[in-house]
Protein backbone atom coordinates (compact mmCIF):
# COMPACT_ATOMS: atom_id res chain seq x y z
CA UNK A 1 0.00 0.00 0.00
CA UNK A 2 1.44 3.33 -1.00
CA UNK A 3 1.98 5.58 1.96
CA UNK A 4 4.13 8.37 0.63
CA UNK A 5 5.07 9.59 -2.80
CA UNK A 6 6.63 12.62 -4.38
CA UNK A 7 7.83 13.91 -7.70
CA UNK A 8 10.87 16.04 -8.35
CA UNK A 9 12.13 17.64 -11.54
CA UNK A 10 15.85 18.09 -12.09
CA UNK A 11 17.01 20.83 -14.40
CA UNK A 12 19.44 18.47 -16.16
CA UNK A 13 19.11 15.89 -18.93
CA UNK A 14 18.58 12.25 -18.03
CA UNK A 15 22.14 11.07 -18.71
CA UNK A 16 23.58 13.68 -16.37
CA UNK A 17 21.15 12.84 -13.59
CA UNK A 18 21.72 9.11 -13.92
CA UNK A 19 25.50 9.46 -13.73
CA UNK A 20 25.02 11.41 -10.52
CA UNK A 21 22.42 8.99 -9.19
CA UNK A 22 24.81 6.05 -9.57
CA UNK A 23 27.22 7.98 -7.36
CA UNK A 24 24.39 9.06 -5.07
CA UNK A 25 26.08 7.96 -1.92
CA UNK A 26 27.66 9.87 -0.29
CA UNK A 27 24.73 12.16 -0.58
CA UNK A 28 24.63 15.25 1.58
CA UNK A 29 20.84 15.04 1.61
CA UNK A 30 21.01 11.57 3.10
CA UNK A 31 23.97 11.36 5.45
CA UNK A 32 22.71 8.22 7.12
CA UNK A 33 24.11 5.93 4.41
CA UNK A 34 27.57 4.98 5.66
CA UNK A 35 28.47 2.14 3.32
CA UNK A 36 27.64 0.98 -0.18
CA UNK A 37 28.71 -2.30 -1.80
CA UNK A 38 27.85 -3.86 -5.13
CA UNK A 39 26.80 -7.49 -4.77
CA UNK A 40 26.07 -8.27 -8.37
CA UNK A 41 26.01 -6.47 -11.66
CA UNK A 42 25.04 -7.67 -15.12
CA UNK A 43 23.57 -6.59 -18.44
CA UNK A 44 20.47 -8.46 -19.51
CA UNK A 45 19.47 -9.55 -22.99
CA UNK A 46 17.68 -6.23 -23.49
CA UNK A 47 20.83 -4.26 -22.79
CA UNK A 48 19.68 -3.06 -19.37
CA UNK A 49 22.14 -2.87 -16.49
CA UNK A 50 21.04 -4.62 -13.32
CA UNK A 51 22.82 -3.80 -10.07
CA UNK A 52 22.24 -5.32 -6.67
CA UNK A 53 23.72 -3.24 -3.88
CA UNK A 54 23.99 -3.50 -0.12
CA UNK A 55 23.62 -0.23 1.75
CA UNK A 56 24.69 0.21 5.36
CA UNK A 57 22.79 2.93 7.14
CA UNK A 58 22.77 4.55 10.52
CA UNK A 59 19.20 5.27 11.45
CA UNK A 60 19.84 7.71 14.25
CA UNK A 61 16.72 6.50 16.02
CA UNK A 62 15.61 8.73 18.86
CA UNK A 63 16.49 7.30 22.25
CA UNK A 64 12.85 6.92 23.21
CA UNK A 65 12.14 4.86 20.12
CA UNK A 66 15.16 2.65 20.76
CA UNK A 67 14.03 2.13 24.36
CA UNK A 68 10.54 1.16 23.22
CA UNK A 69 11.92 -1.23 20.64
CA UNK A 70 14.37 -2.67 23.13
CA UNK A 71 17.23 -2.40 20.74
CA UNK A 72 20.42 -0.42 20.76
CA UNK A 73 21.19 -1.34 17.17
CA UNK A 74 21.44 1.65 14.90
CA UNK A 75 23.17 0.07 11.90
CA UNK A 76 20.68 -1.28 9.41
CA UNK A 77 21.20 -2.95 6.06
CA UNK A 78 19.21 -2.26 2.95
CA UNK A 79 19.18 -4.20 -0.29
CA UNK A 80 18.75 -2.23 -3.49
CA UNK A 81 18.07 -3.44 -7.03
CA UNK A 82 18.43 -0.96 -9.86
CA UNK A 83 17.79 -1.28 -13.58
CA UNK A 84 19.20 1.21 -16.07
CA UNK A 85 17.86 1.21 -19.62
CA UNK A 86 20.16 3.45 -21.66
CA UNK A 87 18.04 3.24 -24.81
CA UNK A 88 14.63 3.67 -23.21
CA UNK A 89 16.16 6.21 -20.81
CA UNK A 90 14.68 4.87 -17.64
CA UNK A 91 16.33 4.09 -14.33
CA UNK A 92 14.40 2.30 -11.65
CA UNK A 93 15.58 1.55 -8.11
CA UNK A 94 13.81 -0.58 -5.53
CA UNK A 95 15.10 -0.91 -2.01
CA UNK A 96 14.00 -2.58 1.18
CA UNK A 97 15.50 -3.17 4.61
CA UNK A 98 16.85 -6.65 5.29
CA UNK A 99 17.48 -6.20 8.99
CA UNK A 100 15.08 -5.11 11.75
CA UNK A 101 12.50 -6.88 9.65
CA UNK A 102 10.86 -8.33 12.76
CA UNK A 103 9.15 -5.06 13.40
CA UNK A 104 9.37 -2.80 10.38
CA UNK A 105 9.55 -2.99 6.62
CA UNK A 106 10.40 0.08 4.57
CA UNK A 107 10.31 -0.25 0.81
CA UNK A 108 11.14 2.54 -1.56
CA UNK A 109 10.89 2.84 -5.34
CA UNK A 110 12.49 5.57 -7.43
CA UNK A 111 12.08 6.05 -11.16
CA UNK A 112 14.09 8.52 -13.25
CA UNK A 113 12.80 9.38 -16.74
CA UNK A 114 13.30 12.30 -19.13
CA UNK A 115 10.74 15.06 -18.72
CA UNK A 116 8.03 14.36 -21.31
CA UNK A 117 8.06 17.95 -22.53
CA UNK A 118 11.69 18.92 -22.09
CA UNK A 119 14.62 16.55 -22.73
CA UNK A 120 16.84 18.94 -20.81
CA UNK A 121 15.03 18.01 -17.61
CA UNK A 122 14.51 14.78 -15.71
CA UNK A 123 11.61 13.60 -13.60
CA UNK A 124 12.14 11.57 -10.44
CA UNK A 125 9.13 9.88 -8.89
CA UNK A 126 9.51 8.33 -5.47
CA UNK A 127 7.17 6.22 -3.46
CA UNK A 128 7.62 4.49 -0.14
CA UNK A 129 5.63 2.03 1.92
CA UNK A 130 6.12 1.45 5.58
CA UNK A 131 4.69 -1.59 7.31
CA UNK A 132 4.94 -1.97 11.06
CA UNK A 133 4.43 -5.52 12.38
CA UNK A 134 2.19 -6.43 9.50
CA UNK A 135 -0.06 -3.41 9.91
CA UNK A 136 0.12 -0.85 7.18
CA UNK A 137 1.30 2.44 8.66
CA UNK A 138 -1.34 4.20 6.68
CA UNK A 139 -4.04 2.18 8.42
CA UNK A 140 -2.39 2.73 11.77
CA UNK A 141 -2.27 6.46 11.29
CA UNK A 142 -5.80 6.42 10.04
CA UNK A 143 -7.06 4.65 13.13
CA UNK A 144 -4.90 6.80 15.40
CA UNK A 145 -6.22 10.00 13.91
CA UNK A 146 -9.76 8.72 14.11
CA UNK A 147 -9.32 8.09 17.83
CA UNK A 148 -7.63 11.34 18.70
CA UNK A 149 -9.31 14.68 19.29
CA UNK A 150 -6.65 16.58 17.43
CA UNK A 151 -6.55 16.17 13.62
CA UNK A 152 -3.10 17.71 13.47
CA UNK A 153 -0.97 15.16 11.56
CA UNK A 154 2.26 16.72 12.72
CA UNK A 155 1.47 16.02 16.36
CA UNK A 156 0.78 12.41 15.50
CA UNK A 157 4.05 12.10 13.61
CA UNK A 158 6.01 13.66 16.47
CA UNK A 159 4.36 11.19 18.85
CA UNK A 160 5.81 8.43 16.66
CA UNK A 161 9.22 9.61 17.69
CA UNK A 162 9.83 11.77 14.66
CA UNK A 163 9.87 8.79 12.36
CA UNK A 164 8.19 10.33 9.42
CA UNK A 165 9.60 13.40 7.73
CA UNK A 166 7.60 16.59 7.16
CA UNK A 167 5.34 16.50 4.15
CA UNK A 168 7.74 18.42 1.99
CA UNK A 169 10.73 16.16 2.65
CA UNK A 170 11.91 14.63 -0.58
CA UNK A 171 14.13 11.94 0.86
CA UNK A 172 12.34 9.26 2.77
CA UNK A 173 14.96 6.64 3.34
CA UNK A 174 16.22 6.09 5.94
CA UNK A 175 13.78 7.65 8.37
CA UNK A 176 15.34 10.68 10.03
Amino acid sequence: MRVWSSEHVFGHPWDTVIKAAMRKYPNPMNPSVVGVDVLERSVDSRGRLHSHRLLSTEWGLPGLVRAILGTSRTLTYIREHSIVDPVGKKMELCSTNITLTNWVSVSERLVYTPHPEDPGRTVLTQEAVITVKGISLGSYLESLMANTISSNAKKVLIAWGGWLPPADHTHMWPPP
Binding site: V34, V36, E40, R41, V43, R48, S56
Partner: protein, 73 residues
Protein backbone atom coordinates in the same frame (compact mmCIF):
# COMPACT_ATOMS: atom_id res chain seq x y z
CA UNK B 1 31.99 5.85 0.82
CA UNK B 2 32.85 2.88 2.96
CA UNK B 3 32.47 -0.80 2.29
CA UNK B 4 30.79 -3.30 4.59
CA UNK B 5 34.19 -4.95 4.68
CA UNK B 6 36.78 -2.53 5.94
CA UNK B 7 39.56 -4.61 4.45
CA UNK B 8 38.25 -4.25 0.89
CA UNK B 9 37.92 -0.47 0.85
CA UNK B 10 40.81 -0.01 -1.59
CA UNK B 11 39.55 -2.68 -3.98
CA UNK B 12 36.11 -1.13 -3.80
CA UNK B 13 37.47 2.29 -4.70
CA UNK B 14 39.38 0.89 -7.68
CA UNK B 15 36.32 -0.98 -8.89
CA UNK B 16 34.01 2.03 -8.38
CA UNK B 17 36.31 4.24 -10.45
CA UNK B 18 36.47 1.66 -13.23
CA UNK B 19 32.71 1.21 -13.22
CA UNK B 20 31.93 4.95 -13.18
CA UNK B 21 34.16 5.45 -16.22
CA UNK B 22 32.64 2.52 -18.14
CA UNK B 23 29.10 3.52 -17.17
CA UNK B 24 29.45 7.15 -18.34
CA UNK B 25 31.67 6.65 -21.38
CA UNK B 26 30.39 3.33 -22.72
CA UNK B 27 27.18 2.01 -21.26
CA UNK B 28 25.08 5.21 -21.36
CA UNK B 29 26.21 5.72 -24.95
CA UNK B 30 24.93 2.22 -25.78
CA UNK B 31 28.48 1.04 -26.46
CA UNK B 32 28.40 -2.72 -25.97
CA UNK B 33 32.14 -3.29 -26.13
CA UNK B 34 33.83 -5.29 -23.39
CA UNK B 35 33.49 -4.60 -19.69
CA UNK B 36 36.95 -3.74 -18.34
CA UNK B 37 36.01 -4.10 -14.70
CA UNK B 38 35.41 -7.84 -14.37
CA UNK B 39 38.71 -8.73 -12.70
CA UNK B 40 38.55 -5.79 -10.34
CA UNK B 41 35.03 -6.78 -9.39
CA UNK B 42 36.06 -10.37 -8.61
CA UNK B 43 38.78 -9.25 -6.24
CA UNK B 44 36.50 -6.72 -4.58
CA UNK B 45 33.75 -9.29 -4.17
CA UNK B 46 35.99 -11.71 -2.29
CA UNK B 47 36.33 -9.12 0.46
CA UNK B 48 32.63 -8.28 0.45
CA UNK B 49 31.51 -11.90 0.65
CA UNK B 50 33.84 -12.50 3.57
CA UNK B 51 32.54 -9.46 5.42
CA UNK B 52 28.91 -10.40 4.81
CA UNK B 53 29.49 -13.87 6.25
CA UNK B 54 31.40 -12.54 9.23
CA UNK B 55 28.75 -9.96 10.03
CA UNK B 56 25.96 -12.44 9.32
CA UNK B 57 24.11 -10.01 7.07
CA UNK B 58 21.03 -11.81 5.72
CA UNK B 59 21.48 -11.70 1.95
CA UNK B 60 19.09 -14.20 0.43
CA UNK B 61 18.51 -15.42 -3.08
CA UNK B 62 21.60 -13.83 -4.47
CA UNK B 63 24.33 -15.88 -6.01
CA UNK B 64 27.59 -14.05 -6.28
CA UNK B 65 27.77 -14.23 -10.04
CA UNK B 66 29.91 -11.16 -10.17
CA UNK B 67 30.02 -9.20 -13.38
CA UNK B 68 28.28 -10.80 -16.28
CA UNK B 69 26.47 -10.19 -19.52
CA UNK B 70 23.46 -11.84 -21.03
CA UNK B 71 22.03 -12.65 -17.63
CA UNK B 72 18.43 -13.81 -17.92
CA UNK B 73 15.89 -11.16 -16.97
Amino acid sequence: MNSVGEACADMKREYDQCFSRWFAEKFLKADCSGDPCTDLFKRYQQGVQKAIKEKEIPIEGLEFMGHGKEKPE
